[in-house]
Amino acid sequence: MEKYSHDIVIVGAGLAGLRAAVAAVEVNDKLDIAVISKLHPLRSHSVCAQGGTAAVMRDKDSFELHAWDTVKGADYLADQDVVEFFVQRAPREIVKMDHYGCPWSRTPDGKIDQRPFGGHSYPRACFAADMTGFHEMHALYGKATSYDKVKFYDEWFATSLLVENNTIVGLTAIDLKTGEMHAFQAKAVIIATGGHERIYEFTTFSHTTTGDGMAMAYRVGVPLEDMEFVQFHPTGLVPSGVLITEGARGEGGYLLNANGERFMKRYAPEKMELAPRDVVSRAEQTEILEGRAFTGPYGPYIALDLRHLGEEKINERLPLIRDVAIKLGGVDPVKEVIPIRPAAHYSMGGIKANIRTETPISGLYAAGECSCLSLHGANRLGTNSTAECLVFGAVAGEEAAKYVASKSFKEMPHEKIAAEEKRVFDEVLGSEGGESVPALRDEMRRLMNAKAWIYRKGDDLESALKEVRELKKRFKNIKVEDKGKAFNTGFTAALQLDFMLDLAEVTVVSALARTESRGAHSRLDYPKRDDEKWLVHTLAYYTTDGPKLEYQPVTITKWQPAARKY
C-alpha cells in the first residue's frame, strides 16, 4: 500500500466534483488537489443531464420567483436560506460555464437562450440543445485539466473515509487498474459521488450511480438526510429506463393514456404536462393502476406524443431524444408515440450538509446529488440539480480551500486502514459463499420497485425492510466469481451492492417513519401533508442495528407552508 497526500481530495468527478476542483484552485492555486473517480470523469452520470440548468438571467425573471418556485416545488421541505443563496449564485455559474467554453444554445441576439421547464414559472432553463449536462461536463473537465495543481486519479474506487476525533484525515481507495488499495491523506475531503438511484429496478440513471459516497459518509457517522424522498421522473423509456427529457414536454409534447386522452387535464389543469414531476408521475401511476395505460410486451406504458411538433423541430431541439428513441426503444418519435412510464430519477436526500456544504465532520464536505442541504426538500424541480451541482460544487471547493489553509495533515489511522483492507479483500472479495452478487442486487431492485415506489404503504414498507435486512445477511455469504486483481468489475459490483443495501435500508426506514405524504413521498395510508408533525428533516444515523432516526426543523425565511396546487 502506498500513501498519497493532498491538501484536498475530491471524491467524484461529475459536475459537482469538477466544479469543486476548479473553485478550489481559483481560491488558492498553491493547493495540491486530487480528484478521485471510479469512472473517467467524462463517464460520470452528469453527462446524461439533458434538459437544462436553471438560473435567473432576465430582467423579467427574479430571484424571488425562482426561490418561490423551488420552495413550492419542494413542498415546503426545502431550507429556505439555502434556496435563497442558491438562486442568487446560479447565474454566475451559467456565465462561468460560458467562459469555459460551454456551447450554450443562443437567442438571435447572442444571449444564452432559456426554455420553460416543469414547476418553473418563468422559462429559466439554460440549455445546450438536449445535451446540457454533457456540455457542462466537457467544459468543466476542459477547464479542470488545464490546471497542473489538480491531479486526477481516474478509475480509482474510494471504499471508506478515515475520520479521527470527528475530523477527516483521509480515505482509502482501490486503483482499479492494479487492484491495489492505497490510503490518501487529506486535510479536507469533498464527497461528490452522485445519487443512489440504482437501488431501484426502473431508473433513468447510469449503471454506476450506486450512492457510494452517501454510504461511506453514513458509515463514519454522518447522518443521511431525507432519504425517503426519491423523485420519479414521468418519462423513462420502456424498457430500458433511459430518460426522455422533460424538454420533450417543454417543447410541447403530450402525455396520452390508452383512450388517447391528455389525462393531465384531470390532475393539473393549468400546467398540464409541465406540472412538477411528482404530480405528473403520480398521475401516470394512477392511470396505470386504474387500467387506463397501454399494455405492451414490457408491461403497462403511457404514450409520450411528439408527432405534432414535426420533424424539423424535433431534429433541431430534441435530436438526442430522437436518436435514443430509435436506437434504444425502436420507435421514431416523428412517426410514433414513445412508450414511457415513471422511473426513479433523483435523490433529494443525501449526506447532511449545511449551506457551506460542511458535514458534521470537520473537513468533510458534500456537494451535488449525494448531498442534502436541503435545497430540493421533498421534490426537486427539473434543472435545479445541475445548477445545484455547480453552485454548491463551487461552494465546497471554496470552503475547503479556505479551511485547509490553516490545517496540517493528521496522523493516519493504521488500524482503520488495515480493517478496511480486511473488509474489502477478505470479507467481500474473499467471501466464499454461494450468493451471486447480480442476483442479490436484482432482488433488492425489484423489491424497492415493488414496495418503496411512487405510492407507499406502511405494510409494504415493513415487509420491504425485513427483506432488505434479509438481503444484507445474505450479502455476507456472497461469492465474487472473478478473483483477479486488475480491473475486477465483479468485485466493484459487490462493493457497490454493499453500499446500496445500506442505502435501501435507510430509504425504507425513513419512508416508513414518515407518516404523511409530501412531495415525492406519497403514503396511501397517510395521503395528507402534515405540517404539524412532519415539517422536519429526517436524519438517519448509522448504528450496527440499522439506522436511528432523528429530526430537525426546516429553515423557513419567507414562505410559510400553504397548499401546493398547480
Partner: protein, 521 residues
C-alpha cells in the same frame, strides 16, 4: 427485460487475463429480443454465464463513451448498437485498438486522453476578458459553425480506428477536432497557440475517413483535420516535405515535380488520343499524376489503355492539360491551390466533351465526385474497377489465361470508405481463373489505410514500425498470400515501400488489379 426471444446469437469475445498474461477467446450464446443492445448482451453474459468477463459501461444511453469495443472489426458503442441491427448469428467482440490492454475488453484510455492535455480544451482569451460578468455574446449562426464538433463523447472509437495513431506522436482525430472546435468558436482568441501543438504531427493523418465513418455521434473529424491544416498552411508553419509537394504542384501542376510536357511519356509507344488534338470521345481517361510519371506505376496506365483498346472504347486523355486533380492537395490543407487545379480541370472538362470520365486513382474519383467545385458539375465519373466490373458482367472482356496466385485485396480508403466501392474490385479478381482471393482481417469498411492519403505518400517520415503501410504488409504476410492486390497507385507506392523496409520483396508483391488482369489477357 422480458419480451420474446427472437434469436440466439453467438458472442466470441477476445479475452486477456492480466494476472496470468494470457490471451484467449471465449464463446457464449445469448438470447436476443427486440431492443437488446450489445451491452445488454455483455451484461447478460457477465451476470448469467461468466462473472469474470470484463468491460466498461456506465450510462447505457450512448453519451458517456465508456463502452466502445470492436464488433466484427468495427469500433462502436456497445450500448448504442442493437444486436438485431447487426444482422448476424455470430459476433466477434474485441477491445479497441491502438491502446494498451488492461483486461478483456478494457483498454488503457490514458494515451488517448493524454493528447487532450497537449491542446487547450478551454476558451483562450486575454485574462481581463474573463472578468466580464455576463456571457460572451454568440449568435446562433456562430454557434452552428462548431456545434457538430462539440458532440464528441471522447469514446476513443476514432482513435482505435485511426491508422495514423499507431504513431503516438499523432494527436489523434478526436483531439485535433477538439482543437479545431475551439478555433471555430467565435468566443475563442487563441488561434496561434492552438496551431502550435499540431504542426509536427497533423500531417500524419491520411484522410482515410475511418474516424468519421465510425463516430457514433457523426462528428466529422476528417474534415476538421483538413481545417486545422489549412490554417497551418496559411500561417506557413509547414514542414519541408509538405512544402516541397505544394511548391511542386504550384510550379508544375503535379506533385511529382516533373514538367507537364512529360505527362504523356507513359504512352509513347501507344496510340493514345489526347486533347487538344481530339476534343470529343466517349470516355475521358483521367490518368493521375502518380500513374503518368512514376516509372513503376506507368505499367498501370498502359494496361488501362490496352484494355480500352481491346474493348474498342473511344477514349482520350487530356494530355498535358491534365493537371493534378488536387485531392491530396485539398486534404493537405492548401485550399487555394486546390481551387486553382480544379478550375483548370473543370475548364478542360467543359472543353472536352466526354460522356464519362474514368479514373485510375480513387483519389481523382473521390474529388471529382465529392469535393466542390467538381461536385457541383455532377460529373459522370467511374473508377476503373467499376468500369471493368461492368464490362466483365456484360461479357465484353474475356480473360483467357489462368493466374495461379493467392491474393489478398486491400481496400483503398478513397474507393472503399469514402465511396463504398467494395464489390467491383472483388468481382474483377474473382473472375480471374485460378486466382484465390483471400480477405484481409481488416477489410472493407474496417480496412486499414496504407498510409498514403492526404499527401503522406510523399511526406512519410515516421519511424518504420509506425508507418501504416508496414503494419498493413505484416497483416498480409500472416495470410501467406503472394500478392496484395490494390486499385490505387498510391497504395502501390506505399505498400511496395513497406515491403522494401521489411525486406520481404521475395515473399510478397503488391499489384494493381490492372497488372493482374494484364497477365490473364
Amino acid at each position: 427485460m422480458n419480451g420474446e426471444v427472437l434469436k440466439v446469437v453467438e458472442f466470441k469475445i477476445r479475452r486477456y487475463d492480466p494476472d496470468e498474461k494470457k490471451h484467449y477467446m471465449s464463446t457464449y450464446k445469448v438470447p436476443i429480443r427486440k431492443g437488446t443492445t450489445v451491452l445488454d448482451a455483455l451484461n447478460y453474459i457477465k451476470e448469467n454465464l461468466d462473472g469474470t468477463l470484463t468491460f466498461r459501461h456506465s450510462c447505457r444511453m450512448g453519451i458517456c463513451g465508456s463502452c466502445a469495443v470492436n464488433i466484427n472489426g468495427k469500433p462502436m458503442l456497445a450500448c448504442y448498437t442493437q444486436v438485431l441491427d447487426l444482422n448476424a448469428d455470430s459476433l466477434t467482440v474485441e477491445p479497441l485498438s491502438n491502446m494498451p490492454l488492461i483486461k478483456d475488453l478494457v483498454v488503457d484510455i490514458q494515451p488517448f486522453f493524454q493528447n487532450f492535455r497537449k491542446i487547450k480544451t478551454t476558451l483562450i482569451k486575454p485574462a481581463e476578458a474573463f472578468r466580464r460578468e455576463n456571457e460572451f455574446p454568440q449568435s446562433p449562426e456562430e454557434l452552428k459553425k462548431f456545434w457538430d464538433l462539440t458532440l464528441c463523447t471522447k469514446c476513443a472509437v476514432c482513435y482505435s480506428a485511426c491508422p495514423a495513431a499507431i504513431d503516438e506522436k499523432f494527436l489523434g482525430p478526436s483531439a485535433l477536432t477538439a482543437n479545431y472546435r475551439f478555433i471555430a468558436d467565435s468566443r475563442d482568441e487563441g488561434l496561434e497557440e492552438r496551431l502550435k501543438p499540431m504542426t509536427d504531427n497533423v500531417w500524419l493523418c491520411t484522410s482515410c475517413n475511418s474516424c468519421t465513418l465510425f463516430c457514433p455521434k457523426l462528428v466529422n473529424c476528417s474534415d476538421s483535420v483538413i481545417e486545422d491544416r489549412s490554417l497551418i498552411v496559411e500561417m506557413g508553419a509547414i514542414p519541408r516535405t509538405v512544402k516541397d509537394v505544394l511548391e511542386s504542384v504550384m510550379k508544375y501542376h503535379n506533385p511529382m515535380g516533373t514538367h507537364q510536357n512529360k505527362r504523356m511519356e507513359w504512352a509513347k509507344d501507344l496510340n493514345v488520343k489526347t486533347f487538344p488534338n481530339v476534343t470529343k470521345a466517349d470516355v475521358l481517361y483521367f490518368v493521375c499524376c502518380s500513374t503518368a510519371y512514376d516509372i513503376r506505376n506507368r505499367e498501370i496506365a498502359k494496361t488501362m489503355a490496352l484494355v480500352f483498346g481491346k474493348l474498342g472504347v473511344d477514349y482520350a486523355t487530356l494530355g498535358e492539360e491534365e493537371w493534378c486533380c488536387g485531392d491530396h492537395i485539398l486534404r493537405m490543407g492548401e485550399k487555394g491551390l486546390f481551387e486553382m487545379l480544379a478550375e483548370h480541370n473543370i475548364e478542360m472538362f467543359r472543353k472536352f466533351n466526354a460522356d464519362k470520365i474514368v479514373t485510375l486513382s480513387p483519389h481523382c474519383y473521390n474529388t471529382f465526385k465529392n469535393d466542390k467545385p467538381y461536385k457541383d458539375l455532377g460529373l459522370n465519373v467511374q473508377h476503373y474497377t467499376e468500369f471493368l466490373a461492368e464490362a466483365l458482367e456484360n461479357g465484353k472482356i474475356k480473360l483467357s489465361k489462368p493466374l495461379n496466385r493467392r491474393v489478398a485485396y486491400h481496400d483503398p480508403c478513397f474507393l472503399g470508405k469514402r465511396n463504398r466501392i467494395y464489390d467491383a474490385p472483388r468481382q474483377i479478381l474473382q473472375s480471374i481463373n485460378g486466382l484465390e482471393l483471400v480477405e484481409m482481417k481488416r477489410t472493407r469498411e474496417s480496412s486499414f489505410c496504407c498510409g498514403g492519403g492526404a499527401g503522406r505518400v510523399w511526406t512519410e517520415e515516421a519511424e518504420q514500425e509506425k508507418r501504416p503501410c508496414v503494419n498493413r504488409v505484416k497483416e498480409a504476410l500472416e495470410l501467406g498470400v503472394d500478392a496484395i492486390a490494390v486499385a490505387c497507385p498510391f497504395c502501390v507506392t506505399t505498400l511496395e515501400d513497406a515491403m522494401k523496409v521489411l525486406d520481404v520483396e521475395n515473399k510478397i508483391a503488391v499489384k494493381d488489379i490492372l497488372e493482374l488482369l494484364k497477365e490473364t489477357l
